[in-house]
């Protein structure tokens, strides 16, 4: 797919050609056997089909088709999927001139190979809406000529950030679905991790790329313990750590150590390190919370944000007590963020201020779109001691 997008400079032409080629494979392969290089066969066939199609269109004096055809002739006849093409396509899909929602949809469609219907379902939008979003994005790529190119060195850090943000957005939507009945959408997490692995394979020297993959692996490792059999949420403190996925943890921790050796810290690497600390600890009580606070200090130094400050405050609660944490949180401007109210509620509960805790739980419940999270918060609120 990536090869053909580069050759023809048009995503729609490439998509149709690939579909044609797969259809051809379905008829040829059962008869003639699977070719030695299936991917190469698909690409060569798709290229031939696309040129045929463009020729037919060119007779109708379609200038774009002629231009694409001219371009296609420059290329060698045999092609194999080289990593460079996928990398180019990644940077195109995640171009900052596209709306974030469009970047996510394009990445899932063109890199993840999900169908439009699957992407629409994952984001709970009607299929025509998602189809429209994809058409518009592809139209902009074509007409505004968003290039298929790995950005030049000077732009690379910014552009990589944009790529990583897209992958992390997909992961987060899978990890804590912003709406719907289920707490998590494991399919989206798996897709984000697959993309993360692809990026790590294509850009092994970028520590933030490794950091994001490590972060996703370490968080994903806890998924089996995050919900009960009926889908209820289990907070970190109460999770059965024996159910954490050790294979994913080991893979994540190896990556974190690789990042440490590079010594070029960035936000994803630091968040991965925080999660590595959790994965090392046999229980909440035995967690090295001082280390967690130190890591959040680093995170705030490289990428200050109220959410990072909130997470730091939650760690401070374990080191200096809930009162100290509450004082920090009350200075933050996060009134719309349900997690902030949930953390406040928990701290107030621990301080024995049940009335205020109840109000904070209410505020959190009102602001979360996820049914499992709402049920968890309602249950917490119900278990507060009655006030005298």
């Amino acid at each position: 797919m990536a090869v053909l997008v580069r050759v023809f400079g048009d995503i729609d032409v490439a998509e149709e050609a690939v579909q044609d080629a797969f259809a051809a494979a379905m008829t040829h392969w059962p008869v003639s056997g699977v070719p030695p290089s299936p991917a190469g066969w698909i690409i060569t066939t798709a290229r031939r089909r696309a040129i045929d199609r463009l020729r037919r269109e060119a007779t109708r004096d379609d200038r774009h088709a002629q231009a694409a055809l001219l371009h296609a002739r420059d290329e060698p006849a045999e092609e194999s999927p080289v990593p460079d093409d996928r990398l180019r396509l990644i940077f195109t899909c995640c171009h900052p001139a596209l709306a974030p929602a469009a970047r996510v949809a394009l990445a899932l469609r063109l890199l993840g190979g999900l169908t439009t219907a699957e992407i629409a379902r994952a984001f709970l939008v009607p299929e025509p809406t998602m189809a429209q979003r994809l058409v518009r994005a592809k139209g902009k790529i074509r007409d505004a000529r968003i290039p298929y190119r790995v950005p030049k060195d000077a732009d690379l850090p910014d552009r990589i950030r944009s790529v990583l943000a897209v992958v992390y957005l997909i992961f987060n939507e899978g990890y804590a679905a912003s709406s719907g009945e289920q707490l998590t959408r494991p399919d989206l997490c798996a897709e984000a991790i697959r993309l993360g692995r692809l990026l790590a394979e294509l850009m092994p020297d970028e520590p933030e790329v490794l950091g994001l993959l490590a972060l996703m692996l370490l968080v994903e490792a806890r998924r089996p313990a995050r919900t009960t059999a009926n889908g209820d949420l289990v907070p970190l403190a109460e999770q059965d750590r024996a159910r954490w996925d050790r294979t994913l943890i080991d893979e994540g921790q190896v990556l974190v150590r690789r990042c440490l050796r590079r010594d070029r810290p960035g936000p994803y690497q630091i968040q991965a390190a925080v999660n590595a600390v959790h994965s090392d600890a046999p229980s909440v009580a035995e967690t090295d919370w001082r280390q967690v606070v130190t890591l959040y200090d680093q995170l705030l130094a490289v990428a200050p944000s109220p959410v990072a400050a909130l997470n730091r405050a939650a760690a401070v609660a374990e080191v200096d007590g809930p009162a100290a944490a509450l004082a920090l949180i009350d200075r933050l401007d996060l009134a719309d963020y349900h997690v902030c109210h949930a953390i406040r509620a928990d701290l107030l509960r621990r301080l024995g201020r049940a009335d205020e805790a109840a109000a904070a739980y209410e505020a959190a419940i009102a602001r979360t779109g996820n049914a499992a999270e709402r049920a968890f918060l309602a249950q917490r609120r119900a278990s507060l001691p009655a006030q005298p």
Binding site: A97, A144, R145, P147, R149, P151, D155
Partner: protein
């Protein structure tokens, strides 16, 4: 080569005082020179305020004139530049330089349909 329209939007009302405007105009002129040196500059111009505009409509051989701009808003097109650029990244780079010279004014970058004839 493809061409892009860089449109400068500015707030309605009086222009800033000369001590503010002059360094901006100097920087804009420098960007224009850079575009010319790079062979990217096609055309550019600044426009008189929207109050000087006239809207023309044609129907059945008649023309109807209306005083003032077609779109009323808090901002208007203050000027524009046309550049030739191989792709959007190159066009955005010129747009970024222009926006930098203009300080806080936004610049809209939009591709033309047709390529420039070679």
């Amino acid at each position: 080569m493809p061409q892009y329209l860089l449109t400068i939007y500015q707030p309605d009302g009086d222009p800033p005082p000369p001590e503010v405007l002059e360094p901006i105009m100097r920087d804009v002129e420098a960007v224009k020179q850079e575009m010319k040196d790079a062979g990217a500059w096609v055309f550019s111009g600044g426009l008189h305020p929207p109050s000087t505009a006239t809207v023309v409509r044609g129907a059945d051989g008649d023309t109807l004139l209306t005083d003032g701009p077609y779109l009323e808003g808090k901002e208007h097109v203050g000027g524009f530049t046309i550049v030739r650029a191989p792709d959007l990244d190159a066009a955005l780079e010129w747009g970024g330089k222009l926006a930098g010279a203009l300080r806080l004014l936004p610049v809209e970058v939009r591709p033309f349909y047709d390529e420039e004839p070679n």
